[in-house]
Subunit: 419 residues, 2 copies
């Protein structure tokens, strides 16, 4: 269960009501016409679970001896999966280790290479286009380093997640490597509930079905017009009075989720709008309980251009307590004795939120009762719906990313490639 | 050796020249009058090395059997040390493991507890004020959990880093625990070259002397008026045309450094200025090679309010190469064959930089020839000097943080404390 509280004031006059209604109608059409396929993932991805289960049964020997699931992918192909893994892994025993070959940083790649063996690993190569230079380069290096013979049964250690018909897909077909398909109309940053996230997360051993169920539940409610708060929040953002949007998470395990949010928000909403104007909202992710010692100063006394969204976990399901002891000369802090860290971190969240509200800084909060698969699915879908809604109100294309192409072209040219 | 390139255009007319000269004069006075003590740390901290060495010699048994240095501290008391550790640790063999008890997140604390034993750990408790609630709470929990008897020689496993005369300092004196003093006029975010960073980093086994030497070298050059670029860059920022400042680091090991920069910049410059106006610059840290797949879109097509600073490592001292193999149907990416990942990641940095320059987005770049102690010391001091210079040009107090106090008061009240 997740509770949403909103302290962002937005006036609902006739004009705003129409804006909201129109944007909501557009979302219904986006879903029906498949402008973006992410709306269908909670239903459509169920069949992937069966597909992964079949792989697990068919390749029982490889699967049982695999200690590591090694994800080769970057950006949208890895961030969502990393976020879910970071949030959930402490709740499971006997799951597989999820490792990421993401950044083409030679030190990071070498370090992962030294931690794994071919015999205890399954490699999941993820690239929507099937030609991402970082991913294909790392994949080739894995093949050479671990001496993987793709023309033998060893290729069962490799799984490919990509668009149907992509170069990587054709490569897999040639070698008889198992492919999981990403729907054409699901972009990288909206893809965590597609094969991009479902395949590696299921292989690790997570209850992915519950994640999908959580996502479906909020989406159904949203399209049944039972959740007003997403539209109101989107409208507040779309007014662009507060163009910098800070996510303050009060749990270390949410750090990768804040990174996932940052790429979703930045890449979706940073666009040239219909009138040719540069527009967009700037997301920033922080661990609130740490960064309220520093970044908070900027929020309080800096330019008033920021909103803050607090994410809090009501029950960490952990009973670590500050012991009831007194240290000579620092008795002043004894007021915290016998309280749990769970209480402390959440009281910090509340105190910081109150101090911002007292200064009229727009905030809202998202409170998870516990860290659970359903809640994670819901949070993912919540932010995706919020992004779509805000994009429509801003009058931009939420789903493309023309701005990152020129750099890629320059890169290819540097290496004499012909793309 | 570090190379600085600047593509941020700033006009140097008479007025600007005067502004620069005045601010530079103010920095000289800040240093002489001890407005902030960080200017003196490269010299003053040398004696700490000897102090730590004495501890190592005196407590030889404890030190030799210690596998872990456990830092208990939050925000300015840990971020800088974490940044240095992350950048350097891959270059050393046989150093101790540095662990952080920072965030009062019960899951994180419990996890570290399960990884260490009292017998193989030295605990370094760091709090400038000596009463930081997160730090004292975690410290108490450590004492109880590991059953540390502070009235026996076991207290040699505990080291305290704090201001002279603070509650924590008095506590240490009472039990005969070794204290390393933080100069009163060195604030948390400027403290990494004081005992705050020097003590834990030296205990881990790093060559801290070279870090201090690197810091001293750039500071001496700066005050000898041999580095114009810092002032010019500060002036560009202080014009506030581009209030969002992005750091794009092209190496995973720099991620914690970007976090250190973010807190330094945000907390120092987010202030109410002399005229009572909310001012400040908003820093954002990213790993460029990953986030150029997402955040770059916002920089390119979003509101043009951002500068981008690229940090690049010329030589990773690692020869991992993309093998010269061709994968069926993805031969198109073979242009990268036989190139090193070192080349790839740096070419990405250059390509992205060029694509931003082509769009007239203000950028600059910092290129480390290698990751070395001297370069790290220089980078730390570079950003600290830049922050001081920018703060003076903005007409604010760079060294205080009044905006974080109210939240702390509310927190104490929630627990019935009397602060």
């Amino acid at each position: 269960m997740i509770q949403y509280e909103r302290y962002l004031d937005v006036e609902i006059d006739e004009e705003n009501s129409m804006l909201l209604l129109n944007a909501f109608g557009s979302m219904i059409r986006e879903r029906e016409k498949g402008v973006s396929g992410y709306y269908n993932l909670p239903d459509d991805s169920i069949h992937l679970l069966k597909e992964v289960e079949n792989y697990i049964i068919n390749e029982d020997g490889i699967y049982q001896s695999a200690e590591n699931i090694v994800l080769i992918g970057i950006g949208g192909s890895s961030l969502g999966t990393k976020a879910v893994n970071s949030m959930l892994k402490h709740k499971y025993k006997n799951i597989k280790n999820l490792l990421f070959l993401e950044n083409p940083d030679p030190l990071s790649i070498s370090k992962i290479f030294s931690q794994i063996k071919k015999e205890n690993s399954i490699f999941v190569v993820i690239s929507k286009s099937g030609g991402t230079i970082e991913t294909t380069s790392i994949f080739k290096t894995v093949i050479a380093h671990f001496d993987i013979d793709l023309n033998t049964a060893e290729n069962k250690r490799v799984l490919i997640v990509t668009d149907d018909g992509s170069p990587l897909c054709k490569f897999a077909d040639f070698h008889g490597i198992k492919v999981f398909v990403i729907p054409q109309n699901v972009g990288g940053r909206f893809s965590v509930l597609s094969a991009v996230g479902v395949v590696p997360l299921k292989l690790v051993g997570f209850d992915v079905e519950s994640i999908l169920r959580g996502a479906k539940s909020i989406m159904d409610k949203f399209f049944d017009s039972k959740i007003e708060s997403i539209g109101l929040k989107a409208l507040f953002y779309a007014q662009k009075k507060y163009p910098v949007n800070v996510l303050f998470s009060y749990a270390d395990c949410l750090e990768d989720f804040t990174k996932w949010f940052v790429q979703l928000w930045a890449e979706s909403l940073g666009k040239i709008d219909k009138e040719g104007k540069h527009t967009g909202l700037t997301p920033i992710g922080h661990i609130g309980s740490v960064d309220q010692h520093s970044f908070l100063q900027l929020i309080m006394q800096g330019v008033r251009d920021k909103t803050v969204t607090f994410i809090k976990v009501e029950d960490f399901e952990n009973d670590l307590i500050v012991p009831s002891i007194s240290l000579k000369n620092i008795e002043k802090v004894d007021y915290i004795n016998s309280h749990s860290f769970n209480e402390l971190i959440n009281a910090e969240c509340d105190a910081t939120k109150e101090s911002l509200i007292a200064e009229n800084i727009p905030v809202d909060s998202i409170t998870l009762d516990i860290i659970s698969e359903e809640n994670i699915g819901e949070m993912i879908m919540y932010f995706e719906l919020l992004t779509s809604y805000t994009g429509l109100l801003l009058g931009i294309n939420t789903y493309d990313q023309p701005g990152v192409e020129n750099g890629k072209k320059i890169l290819v040219k540097k290496f004499g490639g012909d793309k």
